[in-house]
């Protein structure tokens, strides 16, 4: 479990980081908390000649909450996110989800940017960001651009990000209504067997908006617009929730792994989605 030799870079600002990326192209990778990349390097499944550590870049740090507008710097750790009272207040679903990621030791190092950027289907934040309708901000040699979280993921470890781009921050408008992040895992530290983020807004007993997204049930996070639509305009009664569950499970394509076979995962996914919606409705 020893990685091959690599050059370690620690730039102090974004232009310096981009310059190193430009210079080394495919041979260089940025590193945030390292929880995905370092194990791959130790297993020698990833051979990175130039590692660019982003931790000294102050522009990538920090959380700002202004009214309902939330900005999270890419290098914000899960630990910082959990301990941010403003986030817990305006976006409690994020607080709830972050607490279900791995364990405290991992959360001290693991970052929000790292969690969403590289397209690991097991990570919790991508599904959550899709549920929230978040925007990812990227910067590269061609300048800055913004991509919707719902458009960012293409396949496992394949995203809309170009090799010479760095994810700098995530922005979203804190949602109104009830919420839940429901996750089944084998143990602390494991990826989800199935997980679901749900946000439901009710007005006078009628659902006015609903957003449902899922984690680790396909090779990308899955946002199910149809699941949300199945709830809108209803009282979120049993029939409506079942329609939403059916829509959501219709959008996933889980693969067999050590967590279990596909029929099991489909059943558990339905159960977890149902529980997420029910809990979100109960809080709406």
């Amino acid at each position: 479990m020893i990685p091959a030799a690599f050059e370690y870079h620690r730039p102090a600002d974004i232009p310096a980081a981009l310059a190193i990326l430009d210079e080394h192209g495919d041979d260089a990778r940025v590193i945030a908390g390292g929880h995905s990349l370092i194990p791959m390097m130790k297993l020698r499944m990833a051979d990175i000649e130039h590692l660019i550590d982003l931790q000294d870049i102050s522009e990538l740090q920090g959380i700002t909450v202004s009214g309902a507008e939330v900005t999270i710097g890419a290098m914000t750790t899960q630990h910082d996110l959990i301990n941010n009272a403003d986030v817990a207040r305006v976006a409690p679903i994020m607080h709830e989800a972050a607490l279900q990621i791995a364990d405290p030791q991992v959360r001290y190092m693991g970052t929000v940017g790292g969690n969403v950027a590289n397209g690991d289907p097991g990570n919790d934040m991508p599904g959550l960001m899709q549920c929230l309708g978040a925007t990812f901000h990227l910067v590269g040699s061609g300048g800055e651009r913004a991509v919707a979280a719902r458009d960012y993921y293409e396949a496992a470890y394949m995203t809309d990000r170009e090799d010479d781009e760095i994810l700098t921050k995530i922005t979203f408008t804190a949602p109104e209504g009830g919420y839940a992040y429901e996750k089944q895992k084998r143990k602390i530290g494991d990826y989800a067997t199935a997980a679901c983020a749900a946000i439901v807004q009710m007005d006078g007993g009628t659902c006015t908006s609903a957003s449902i997204a899922m984690t680790n049930l396909s090779d990308t996070p899955i946002f199910s617009e149809e699941a949300g639509e199945a709830l809108v305009g209803t009282a979120c009664d049993k029939a409506a929730i079942e329609a939403a569950v059916a829509a959501a499970t219709g959008a996933i394509d889980p693969a067999e792994d050590n967590r279990g076979p596909v029929d099991f995962k489909m059943h558990v996914a339905a159960t977890i989605i149902r529980r997420a919606i029910e809990r979100a409705v109960s809080r709406a």
Binding site: M1, I2, A4, A5, R44, D103, Q184, R186, K187, I188, G189, D190, T193, N258, R259, G260, P261, D263, F264, H267, V268, T271, I272
Partner: protein, 807 residues
């Protein structure tokens, strides 16, 4: 009251912190401050590092090995292959089970991760780069991971080295992948009982392959001093003396020129009993280079290649009367041993003590046969926190009892009660050949059932089933019962040896003139707290405070010879040696006291921490005074000094037992579970340190939880290990670990000097069936008989699905 008031007898007992005291662990000050000294902490001048090139294939022929690119890497000094070891006769080594094992792949590989070449370099990083650069040309061969398929007529030949050998270390081999057949009990008589029985329950019970996975993996530092010809070998050895003898026999180095040291060991659980290729290669590399060589496994190496545990397919038949009185037990086990038979069992017991599988029950007739089989999996078969295959035996009988209860339509607690060996039957001769020393099962059982409110639990369970059937809940309630009997403390030299080394153990005590002492033992603690508990035994035996007694183990240059620590043998064997050595000290002290008090030897008696003149308690000499006199006063007819040594050959095994009850909630839709209650009553005979016992029980139960509920070493059909990291190999954290309630009864062993039986492994042995039975019991009302472990989420879900509980 004034300062001169002598302490009361109770105060004197208290101040010794002897047996029965929950003395705090003396080791913990060191361990909790990061001041332990583990093998990987050892650094020597000029030390080199070794690392293995390992096979990616489970079965392949090796066509060539090209080391050129590796040797070109700066820092890489050598690449050893089987060809380099062959002239030394070290390309193969004997296993503890009478088989032999490749040290480095000799022409072919038999399991994924097998050692192919050993790269020696100036540092770890260069060694790892060197391993990456060695080019091995493999030709893949057909893979067998199923022991039943391995015995098919046309199954590929795994062990070509054994071709044509119809006789193995344990009798005839009937197939090219067959290792041995081992039998106990009466075959024909048992078959007759089964044929004529009123009720027979039959089932296949699989105890899956898992791994001890100690926190610290295996490793060593070998240092050959070419000037004085001495080899020092530091390593994670559970049996340092046995390792020294084996190294001497294999290498030809005289035993006095070998020093084996087990420093602090971060958990063993059986994984560190055997000899691994890393040890041999490190020794060879040190001899070749003249420098110390360190080899340390990483987690994947440890999980994928060092000794696994279990992997027993146990086909059982149990016969009974309609009223539930068991009349016979039959068991045929197919044991998957992997590519080499490297089980760690006493030599005469190739299936360990599997013949304890009649458990806690008075079963008049029984028969057991075990077939050992080669497959393309890692070798091993160690006793993972249990005495040689006892946990397999306990799981088997405790499942068979539950299955019989289903067959009879009886309550499983009651079925156990009517079949327990009765208190007055001890010493009890079992149908499969053991003499149980002592027990009081009914008392323990009734105490356990009462403690959990068993009858109310059954009522609640029945109500839950009704509520489930009405659609009001999706959770079921399981009540997991277990009454286990262990067999530990191997063992009597007359039938217990490993590679011819008798399984006695030892203690050597030296009392210092000022009344403190050092005791050295042939065992080695891996976290059990020997430095704490053995001092307590001595404190009670010789009347010096435990705090004044140093306990030292693990250095073969200083410690007396012993067979080490595994199979709950330390307290039953070395603990007995400690008490016996203490009694020798006391016998001499008695003569000295009598001389000092000017009375006859028989006129003084031992009292806590002193010898007193009988009938005149004011006339006494404390052990402290006696120690000083032993060295500094000329006593006619008595040599100076106060030392003793005892080598203890136990007359019998000890038979700890316990009653465990697990109450579990199961979610039929997700397959998740919640342990609502776990009650563990242990009877380990005399209790030396209740706090340490409780800690041992908590730890063992947590390992049992892991094994029953998710931990496994699994292979795909190509022989790829699917569980080589802690992502997939389940180790519970505090989050997954439930609360445990511990309790005890005390039935001393009649043959052990202090009546102690050993406890470290009981919770693993009894815990696994308790958790597993709880899962099965939750589904009993819906028709479940048997479902194999581990009971992880998807397998529990599969049970519910198979029983039609998902609508």
């Amino acid at each position: 009251m004034n300062d001169m008031t002598p302490p009361s007898r109770e105060e004197r007992i208290e101040s010794l912190k002897g047996m029965g005291s929950s003395r705090k662990r003396v080791e913990d000050a060191r361990f909790t401050q990061g001041k332990g000294n583990y093998v990987d902490d050892i650094k020597m001048p000029g030390m080199l590092f070794g690392d293995f090139v390992r096979s990616p294939y489970a079965h392949a022929r090796i066509k060539s090995i090209d080391s050129e690119a590796a040797l070109a890497i700066p820092g890489v000094l050598a690449v050893l292959t089987a060809k380099d070891l062959e002239p030394l006769g070290l390309h193969w080594m004997p296993t503890l089970a009478g088989d032999k094992q490749m040290v480095l792949a000799d022409g072919k590989v038999l399991f994924q991760g097998q050692e192919v070449a050993f790269v020696v370099a100036t540092d770890r990083y260069a060694a790892a780069d060197g391993c990456e650069a060695v080019v091995v040309d493999y030709e893949e061969l057909p893979v067998v991971v199923d022991p039943f398929k391995a015995l098919a007529e046309d199954a590929p030949v795994l062990r070509e080295d054994l071709e044509g050998q119809t006789e193995g270390a344990h009798g005839p081999r009937r197939h090219h992948n067959h290792i041995f057949t081992w039998e106990a009990g009466e075959k024909e008589a048992t078959e007759q009982v089964l044929d004529s029985a009123e009720v027979v329950a039959e089932e296949m019970v699989y105890y899956h392959r898992t791994h001890p996975c100690p926190l610290e993996p295996c490793g060593c530092v070998a240092s050959m001093d070419k000037v004085n010809g001495k080899l020092t070998l530091y390593g994670t050895f559970q049996a340092p003396h046995a390792i020294r003898t084996v190294v001497s026999l294999i290498s030809g180095i005289e035993e006095h020129n070998i020093r084996v040291v087990s420093p602090d060991i971060g958990g063993g659980f059986g994984n560190k009993v055997g000899a691994y290729p890393g040890y041999v290669c490190s020794v060879v590399a040190s001899i070749v280079t003249g420098k110390p060589v360190k080899w340390i496994e990483d987690r994947m190496d440890n999980l994928m290649t060092t000794a696994f545990a279990r992997d027993y397919w146990m086909k059982g038949k149990i016969a009974a009367t309609k009223e539930g009185k068991i009349t016979g037990l039959w068991c045929h086990t197919t044991a998957d041993h992997g590519g080499f038979d490297a089980c760690a069992d006493p030599t005469k017991f190739p299936a360990g003590f599997m013949n304890i599988c009649t458990g806690s029950y008075d079963i008049p007739t029984a028969y057991l046969a075990v077939d050992g089989v080669y497959t393309n999996k890692a070798p091993g078969g160690v006793a993972y926190r249990c005495s040689f295959r006892v946990t397999e035996a306990a799981y088997f009988i405790e499942r068979m009892i539950e299955i019989l209860a289903i067959e009879l339509g009886m309550d499983a607690a009651e079925l156990r009660r009517i079949n327990f060996i009765k208190k007055e039957q001890f010493p009890y001769q079992s149908a499969l050949g053991w003499e149980y020393d002592s027990g009081d099962y009914h008392t323990a059982w009734d105490k356990a059932l009462k403690a959990v409110g068993y009858d109310d639990l059954r009522k609640e369970q029945a109500e839950r089933v009704e509520a489930f059937n009405r659609g009001e809940t999706r959770k079921l309630l399981g009540i997991g019962l277990t009454h286990f009997t262990e067999i530990v403390g191997a063992g009597p030299v007359k039938n217990c040896d490993i590679l011819g080394l008798g399984m006695f153990d030892s203690c050597e005590i030296r009392i210092h003139p000022t009344g403190s002492a050092i005791a050295r033992l042939g065992t080695i603690s891996q976290g059990q707290g020997h430095a704490t508990t053995f001092a307590q035994i001595l404190a009670s035996e010789i009347g010096l405070p435990a705090d004044s007694i140093t306990v030292e183990e693990g250095d073969t240059d200083t410690a007396p010879y012993g067979l080490g620590t595994y199979g709950s043998r330390s307290t039953p064997v070395a603990g007995a040696a400690t008490a016996m050595a203490g009694r020798k000290i006391r016998a001499k002290a008695q003569m000295i006291a009598a001389y000092l008090l000017e009375v006859h030897d028989d006129d003084v008696e031992f009292d806590v921490d002193r010898f007193v003149v009988k009938g005149a308690p004011e006339r006494f000499k404390t052990m402290k005074e006696i120690a000083f006199a032993a060295y500094n006063q000329a006593i006619p007819g008595i040599e100076p000094g106060l030392e003793a040594v005892s080598y203890y050959d136990p007359p019998n095994m000890t038979y700890p037992f316990g009653a465990y009850i697990c109450v579990m909630e199961i979610d039929v839709d997700t397959g998740t579970h919640e342990i609502r209650q776990f009650y563990a009553l242990d009877d380990c005979g005399t209790r030396i340190n209740p706090m340490i016992i409780e800690g041992q029980v908590h730890g063992g139960l947590t390992e049992a939880l892991a094994i029953a509920m998710g931990q496994e070493i699994a292979y795909d059909e190509m022989g790829n290990c699917k569980t080589g990291t802690l992502m997939d190999f389940f180790i519970p954290t505090a989050w997954e670990t439930p609360n445990y309630t511990t309790d005890h009864t005390t039935t001393p062993s009649p043959h052990h000097p202090i009546g102690a039986k050993g406890v470290g492994e009981s919770p693993n042995v009894g815990g696994v069936p308790a958790f597993s039975n709880a899962v099965h019991d939750a589904f009993r009302a819906f028709g479940l008989r048997q479902s194999h472990m581990p009971h992880d989420h998807w397998r529990i879900w599969k049970i519910a699905n198979g029983l039609g509980l998902h609508g």
